[in-house]
């Protein structure tokens, strides 16, 4: 298995805090697309494959995916101080903005233009999520599942979640377990 190495690393928990604060503040409508862009492409702290691995783990664990990703990555860099720095960086400033917006919404009620703007941002947020998927997809080429099986699992996931609307725990059971078993079998065949 090609073991790629990241081209850079954070110098301190403070650097982690700043990086995660920056990517959170750019993440309107979802932080994941920006996190991929910042951590993989701009900072080079993770390779695309490493990011995909971290994200896979973060997604099957309960809790917000991008927070889990920051916690695990921060912990790997600097232990609990790193986890705290990444998490606090992502949450502190955005939290203040959310509280201000909530107070304003409670006070001023709904203005049509504001509702429309929220809808428009929601559309772009969906586009950003799709772009993240397309960027990460080449990481599957090196997957021990093989390209055909990996593509099949992607399609089945979309079908079950978006079309059939199965609850996520069920999808993880129905596709995750066979996926892991197949990967384990393939890894055992070609050590």
């Amino acid at each position: 298995m090609p073991e790629e190495v990241a081209r850079a690393a954070p110098a301190s928990p403070a650097a982690l805090f700043r990086a995660f604060n920056r990517l959170a503040m750019m993440g309107f409508g979802g932080v994941l697309p920006v996190a991929q862009r910042e951590l993989v492409e701009r900072l080079g702290w993770l390779t695309r494959e490493q990011f995909l691995e971290l994200l896979s783990l973060s997604q099957v664990l309960p809790g917000p995916n991008v927070i889990n990703l920051g916690l695990i990555y921060g912990d790997r860099c600097f232990g609990w101080r790193g986890a705290l720095a990444a998490c606090a960086g992502m949450l502190l400033l955005p939290l203040l903005l959310v509280l201000a917006a909530t107070a304003a919404a409670l006070r001023f009620g709904d203005v049509p233009a504001v509702g429309g703007a929220l809808r428009g941002m929601g559309v772009v947020a969906a586009g950003l999520v799709l772009a993240t998927a397309i960027r990460l997809a080449p990481g599957l080429r090196a997957n021990p599942l093989g390209r055909v099986a990996a593509a099949g699992f992607v399609a089945a996931t979309v079908l079950m979640v978006a079309v059939l609307r199965w609850p996520l725990p069920l999808v993880v059971l129905a596709l995750g377990l066979p996926g892991i078993a197949l990967a384990a079998w393939r890894l055992g065949k070609a050590p």
Binding site: G30, L57, P94, V98, G122, V124, L140, V161, V172, P178
Partner: protein, 191 residues
């Protein structure tokens, strides 16, 4: 509004929740934290059941506004629970919903991250991450599809998505430009 009232409202919410209600809010969000596979957004229906249907702390419209604020503001989408907490019980409510949503899953994520790292070269962990990687990509595609479904009949929405994909995949520009375009199109009533 006199100053003592303003502080009271900031700390405990416009209506003012008592210790018993605070505890119920905290416990409910704590319990949901550990079943929120795929993020806190997957447990929204359960949160709505407590906050709107069971306790009547918020109206359905106020509850939906909280979700929209979490999506639209920069930062992780999980911050919609802060908007709910603030609307229900001021800053005390924020502490209840944020700590409840984040602490249990954060401890689990750091623990799982450490186990994954220690046995990173083992066949089990490699099979685990490889087997789940296609699900990760499929989930991102499905999330985009689910978010776009209500807007499938709107040509401007498709234009916005196409423009977002182009910006993310073909340029190095900041995704904030796409968000701003979406907000503008929405505010003008095009989507």
């Amino acid at each position: 509004m006199s100053h003592p009232d303003l502080w009271q409202s900031l700390l405990w919410g416009p209506v003012g929740i008592g210790a018993a209600e605070w505890w119920r809010l905290f416990l409910h969000f704590t319990a949901l934290s550990l079943v929120a596979i795929g993020g806190a957004i997957t447990t929204v229906s359960e949160m709505q059941r407590l906050v709107v249907a069971q306790e009547g702390w918020l109206t359905p419209v106020q509850f939906n506004d909280c979700i929209a604020i979490g999506q639209a503001m920069p930062g992780p989408n999980v911050l919609f629970v802060a908007a709910i907490g603030y609307s229900v019980g001021g800053l005390a409510g924020v502490a209840a919903t944020m700590a409840g949503s984040l602490l249990p899953s954060a401890v689990l994520a750091v623990g799982a991250g450490r186990v994954g790292e220690r046995y990173a070269q083992s066949r089990g962990v490699r099979a685990f991450t490889a087997g789940l990687a296609p699900l990760t990509i499929g989930l991102l595609l499905a999330t985009g599809a689910v978010l776009l479904r209500p807007l499938a009949a709107e040509p401007v929405a498709w234009l916005l998505v196409a423009g977002t994909l182009w910006l993310m995949l073909r340029t190095k520009r900041n995704p904030m430009w796409a968000i701003a375009a979406g907000a503008l199109a929405g505010a003008l009533g095009w989507v």
